[in-house]
């Protein structure tokens, strides 16, 4: 509640000195308005209490428990991490998980970029249709989608029948990492397309035209003007897809090969089957650290490249 500033009282002709005073008053009002919201005794912050408690109880506490268990079970010490670093299979599984996540990110980016571009240049009807196509999987249960892929990918399934009819020969897809990637990319596509679309939609097309007016051929104007402006979307989408890929459990469990185990599945085995909560904790910490480091690196690179901090959602409006 600010007192009215004399400099801005209506009806009084503004003189230079007054205008300056008015600007100062405006600034002061801006500050004081904020100060009102943060005034002692204000209890707006209480509104975040339910969410904060939910996050603490549902995420903070379990994560802390897992970290503690990784260094206390079966006995205090670093034996679980020493196991992780010396067990060839565990390391291979960790490396494979990172590679699969990176490949999934690359595939969704390569497929999603032109798709999102088409969405921004098309008319409302086509855009609606394209949006529907990318969001449709969201409305279907994950299990249904995964089992649909089983039917499509299996040795005598739809895809293999088509490949056979085309004379390309049958190839084993179900129970391979290729099969897992196909299933993952379909599920992850919206997480890439939506941030990309959001970033591209806000790009001023006249900038590309200006580039062409200045003599750049269309491809060059696109590459030098449009692509750099869309980078925040690229970073946001890639980061989200990559981090989600690291945690995929059901898709590799159903579509993958037991010979190509991924980290979440190894983690499940340690925790639920072998009751090795310490080792499971070490694997979980490794996954958490990897995701955290990548998040930090991407945020840094993104800031350097685009001058803005990466928004993980890309300012997503759903």
């Amino acid at each position: 509640m600010t007192a009215p500033s004399p400099g801005t009282r209506p009806g009084r002709p503004a003189r230079p000195a007054d205008r300056r005073a008015g600007r100062q008053a405006d600034r002061a009002r801006g500050r004081s308005a904020t100060a009102v919201e943060r005034a002692p005794g204000s209890r707006h912050w209480l509104l975040i209490v339910p969410t904060a408690l939910l996050v603490l109880a549902g995420f903070g506490y379990p994560v802390a428990t897992i970290v503690v268990r990784s260094v206390t079970q079966p006995e205090p010490g670093l034996q679980n991490f020493s196991w992780l670093l010396h067990d060839a299979t565990a390391l291979e599984v960790l490396g494979r998980t990172l590679v699969v996540a990176a490949v999934a990110t690359l595939i969704t980016l390569v497929l999603g970029y032109p798709y999102a571009y088409l969405m921004t240049v098309s008319g409302p009807a086509l855009r609606g249709l394209l949006m529907l196509a990318v969001l449709m999987p969201f409305w279907t249960s994950l299990m249904v989608r995964v089992f649909a892929w089983v039917i499509i990918l299996q040795d005598h399934g739809v895809l293999n029948t088509v490949l056979d009819a085309l004379g390309l020969g049958r190839t084993q897809l179900l129970g391979t990492t290729t099969g897992v990637l196909i299933g993952m990319c379909q599920i992850l596509m919206p997480f890439m397309v939506l941030p990309l679309f959001n970033a591209m939609r806000s790009i001023d097309r006249r900038l590309v035209q200006a580039g062409m007016i200045c003599g750049a051929p269309p491809w060059k104007a696109f590459w030098r003007v449009f692509v750099p402006l869309s980078l925040p979307g690229v970073f946001a989408g890639s980061l989200m897809v990559f981090i989600l890929s690291l945690g995929f459990y059901i898709t590799p469990a159903v579509l993958g090969s037991p010979r190509q185990e991924l980290l979440p599945n190894a983690l499940y085995t340690q925790i639920s089957e072998l009751l090795n909560w310490g080792r499971g904790g070490a694997l979980a910490v490794a996954l958490l650290l990897t995701a955290g480091v990548l998040l930090a690196v991407t945020a840094w690179v993104s800031k350097r490249v685009t001058g803005k901090s990466a928004q993980v959602t890309g300012g997503l409006e759903l």
């Binding site: 509640m1 600010t2 007192a3 009215p4 801005t8 308005a33 009102v36 204000s42 209890r43 707006h44 209480l46 509104l47 209490v49 339910p50 408690l53 939910l54 109880a57 060839a88 299979t89 291979e92 599984v93 299996q154 040795d155 005598h156 129970g175 469990a253 090969s257 037991p258 010979r259 190509q260 185990e261 599945n265 190894a266 085995t269 925790i271 639920s272 089957e273 072998l274 009751l275 090795n276 909560w277």
Partner: protein, 385 residues
């Protein structure tokens, strides 16, 4: 009050509303938190005098009135069958209120035992789980209440478990493919020259007992000399046919592999082959040195209804109950007097036939339980190599 401050009126209103808002928020959290803790809440445990010495399959009328307990199994059709066969009749006869939950998950039991908040009273689990965690996660059973007189011979022994059902695990082959010259031993399973074709085996990181045993038997180790398992030797044997292997990860996949012809031989569970054959596959068993496997009943340590749990187990082991369980689930009964009516198809795959029991092996579940880590790591490393 500035007329230019567009929020002032709203702020004033908000200010008066604020405590109410915050109060609502806190109350909501409170309700959520208490709701999370309000479940469970057992009544009283039973009086053992009413339960001791009861013949298997019986319970004194209304002996457990006021008791509220929980039975846990693997879910799906199997658990439905068990509930129909003995859980619901037990609740009716004893007066207990029996809740059900599932699927069985040793990690959940460990969490319950560690937090001293045990919600599960009778659990259908694997013998290697119960044997390995005897007296840490599961308690010793009370054989004054549980009558084991009608259990079949060869059943696995551990103070913390009693069998709940029987199934076969072994080599099944596609009779259409091998015709008059079918495989008859584990050696044949590993002989891809004499018996060409894909073989499907357990691809899980924690395999069912039998995976190392089968390879050792094929390599010439006698059934009585299997333990302690020489995993290196067994895995060398598996190396020989690695390029001819495909893997299943669930029971349903066994059925699917047999049915779709993805493999010509499969190391599988009897019930799953029965399902495949019912759907048109033509797979036949090799009983020679096949494995007899069990599920067991166990009682988590710290159960608040220990006596009632023993009473339920004793009831489930009855002749009638086991007959019904077998007819509802296709698993074989653990009561020698049970004579379920089986279709001719099911009879052919019944692992409790005399001729089968005479040539089958019961794996050493205690050994498997105690060496679970080592055996699992060996198999996982081999799979991922």
């Amino acid at each position: 009050m500035s007329p230019r401050s567009p929020h002032s009126a709203a702020f004033r209103a908000a200010r008066t509303r604020r405590p109410a808002l915050a109060g609502t928020a806190l109350a909501t959290v409170g309700v959520l938190l208490t709701a999370g803790c309000a479940q469970g809440g057992p009544g009283k445990d039973a009086d053992s005098a009413d339960l001791i010495g009861q013949p298997a399959g019986t319970v004194k009328k209304d002996a457990l009135k006021g008791v509220r307990m929980t039975f846990v199994s693997y879910g799906g059709g199997m658990q439905d069958g068990q509930e129909g066969a003995f859980v619901k009749p037990f609740a009716k006869d004893s007066g207990a209120d029996v809740l059900t939950d599932g699927p069985t998950d040793p990690a959940k039991i460990k969490a319950q035992v560690n937090s001293k908040n045990v919600l599960w009273d009778v659990v259908d689990t694997t013998p290697w789980d119960a044997a390995a965690n005897c007296e840490t996660l599961y308690q010793k059973l009370d054989y004054k209440i549980i009558n084991t007189g009608q259990l079949p011979r060869q059943t696995p022994e551990s103070p913390c478990m009693v069998p709940s059902l029987i199934y076969g695990y072994g080599l099944y082959y596609n009779a259409d493919k091998y015709g008059d010259n079918p495989p008859t031993t584990w050696e044949d399973f590993f002989d891809t020259e004499k018996f060409p074709g894909k073989r499907a085996v357990d691809g899980r990181p924690t395999p069912t007992p039998g995976i190392f045993e089968a390879a050792l038997l094929a390599d010439g180790v006698g059934p009585s000399k299997l333990y302690p398992l020489d995993t290196k030797r067994a895995l060398r044997k598996w190396d020989d046919i690695k390029s001819d292997l495909t893997y299943w990860k669930t029971g349903a996949q066994q059925t699917q592999i047999a049915q779709s012809g993805q493999a010509d031989m499969i190391m599988a569970w009897s019930g799953r082959i029965y399902e495949a054959n019912a759907n048109g596959a033509n797979f036949r068993p090799v009983w020679n040195n096949s494995f007899t496997l069990y599920d067991v009943f166990a009682v988590p340590k710290g159960s608040k209804n220990t006596k009632a749990a023993m009473g339920l187990i004793n009831y489930a082991l009855g002749e009638e109950q086991q007959t019904r369980q077998s007819e509802y689930t296709s698993y074989a009964p653990v009561n020698v007097n049970s004579k379920p009516t089986l279709s001719p198809q099911a009879q052919k795959l019944d692992p409790t036939q005399e001729k089968v029991l005479n040539q089958s092996i019961t794996p050493d579940f205690t050994y498997w339980g105690q060496n679970r880590d080592k055996l699992s790591t060996a198999w996982t490393d081999w799979l991922n190599r």
